[in-house]
Amino acid sequence: MFDIILRNLTQRKIRTGLTISGIGLGIFAVIVMGGMSENFNQTFEKSFSLTAEKIRVFSSVGVFGGGVTNSKVAEVRKVPGVEDAYGMLMAPLEEGGGMSFGGNQVTGIRPEKSQVALTPIKVKDGRFLMRGDRYVTVIGSSIATQYNIGVGDKLEIEDKNFTVVGVLEYTGSFFDANAAIPLDIAQDIYDMGDTVSLIFALPQEGVDGELLAKRIKLSVDGVDTLSPGELKKEAEQNLRIFSVITVSAAVLAALIGGLSVMNTMLMSVMERTKEFGILKALGAQQRDILLMTVGEASIMGLIGGLLGLASGWAVIYGMNLWLADQGIVLFLITPRLVAVAMLFAILLGTASGIYPAIRATRMSPMEALRYE
């Protein structure tokens, strides 16, 4: 049966080609949009896992509401159950870069806390910040790639030259795009006085992070907290919305491809009405006709899926290569994405072929034979 299916498909080359291209475009969209979504998901997951146990303490008017004074760090540290606390000042590295996803950022941190703040990330080259450090920085792997710098080189931040003393290992998280500098220097160059963007609090061993977050909020005036659980919930919700938006757009494109398969198959079934009549006269059963018609649609779905996967992969590879110069990774193809896209392509092709196939099987052989 497979040879007949292939022969039918190759008999109408242009139409088959156009239909396969339709599916291919849809799956291309699924791969590219899904690849972006997968990358965001993984980055968020990794970033979260690296700071999972820490409680975020920020100004009660919000993270971007002007920050909290560094004096609050001591108050937070005094709350029972807090093992340690440190403030961080965050600012964009490039002028006008903002704090959006994909942009590099500068983190001001007290040098003696830099190892605690960055753990479990390891230093690939050099060292962490140390007490007494001034105009030095520990950079993430993306910044090192983007600026092509390493230990001993200079990085310009706000017109000041900082010597790179350490390069972190690649983590696939926000830390890759981060340059850590001493907090007092950061407050000085950004003219932030005694302010930090947020405070991280580490719970003592055995202390429940959720309860401790509430305790900090009640104990320290003018602050709000985000417990690890709340952060995860919030991040997951945002990711879900992002995934739904990106994947919906891609699925819509693929569904349009599916409709083109259905249209092609309906036309093909109509054109081959007489052929189905002949096959029935020769003793073909309904399942033979069904298999033949659905088989054609499924194969178009499969080839379209492979085409979309290959072209999506090529574009993503090219884009990632191009963006790598800027230290940005925007797309990620995962086995899960490939499996879902291929399954979707085949199911789409098959589903689109079912209605035309049912029409073909229901034809009266006599009427089909009379069809001109």
Partner: protein, 246 residues
């Protein structure tokens, strides 16, 4: 041919008490009414025929006399409004819908006026496909298809597509396809309608030869020349047998 024929165990076997072993096709009180809008059109008005094994029979009659309807009902492409059809001792009009393709495959071989070959397949492919639906293994299918095509004098045209064959050659492929599953009856609907007089003679000679070798052949035709060359002619007028001419 008879020794190669399949014995069928599909369908309901009944009412065979008066069926002679020599009778391969029997119809009783066969009626078919079509509705044209709200107006009933009686295509067949109670047809009784008996056809013996290895007979070459022609069905003639003016347009609209019910010849083709008769052929479709015998070929199980349509169901009668009333009446019974027995093929090879099986009442096929009682058969369940799911059993009809198998019965059709094993009992009937069709030869059409317009050949009705599949354009994407070669002569060999067109003959071989008829056996696929009977789930015959590939090697056996190919051997049998080559055998019947060679019998039809097309041994050197196996790989040719229908568009590369003459009308006569196409009709011979069509006959080979009808023979592939070794059916009880070959139903030929105007088999010489699309060919020249020389090819017409060739086709009739082939059908005659098949009959002489034990194959039952029923031909629907408008052509008196063809009818004259059959063992018996059944004339249908207004859905009824008017005359048995021979």
């Amino acid at each position: 041919m008879n020794d190669m024929r399949n014995n069928n165990d599909v369908g309901d076997i009944s009412d065979i008490d008066d069926m002679s072993g020599d009778i391969i096709l029997k119809t009783r009180d066969l009626k078919k009414t079509f509705m044209q809008g709200k107006i009933p059109v009686h295509a067949l008005r109670g047809v009784d025929i008996d056809i013996k094994r290895s007979e070459l029979v022609s069905i003639v009659g003016p347009s609209g006399s019910g010849k083709s309807t008769m052929l479709s009902i015998i070929g199980m492409l349509e169901k009668p409004t009333q009446g019974k059809v027995f093929i090879d001792n099986i009442e096929v009009t009682k058969a369940k819908n799911k059993d009809i393709p198998k019965l059709r495959r094993e009992k009937i071989g069709f030869v059409f006026q317009h050949f009705n070959l599949l354009s994407v397949l070669s002569a060999l492919g067109n003959v071989e496909i008829a056996m696929r639906f009977a789930r015959v293994p590939k090697k056996k299918r190919m051997t049998r298809a080559k055998e019947v095509l060679t019998e039809m004098g097309l041994g050197d045209r196996l790989k040719h597509k229908p568009s590369e064959l003459s009308g006569g050659e196409q009709q011979r492929v069509s006959i080979a396809r009808a023979l592939a599953n070794r059916p009880a009856i070959i139903l030929a609907d105007e088999p010489t309608g699309e060919v020249d007089t020389k090819t017409r003679e060739l086709i009739i000679n082939i059908l005659r030869r098949l009959s002489d070798h034990g194959q039952t052949v029923i031909i629907v035709t408008h052509d008196p020349w063809v009818a004259e060359r059959t063992d018996r002619t059944i004339k249908l007028v207004d859905g009824k047998i008017e005359d048995l001419l021979k």
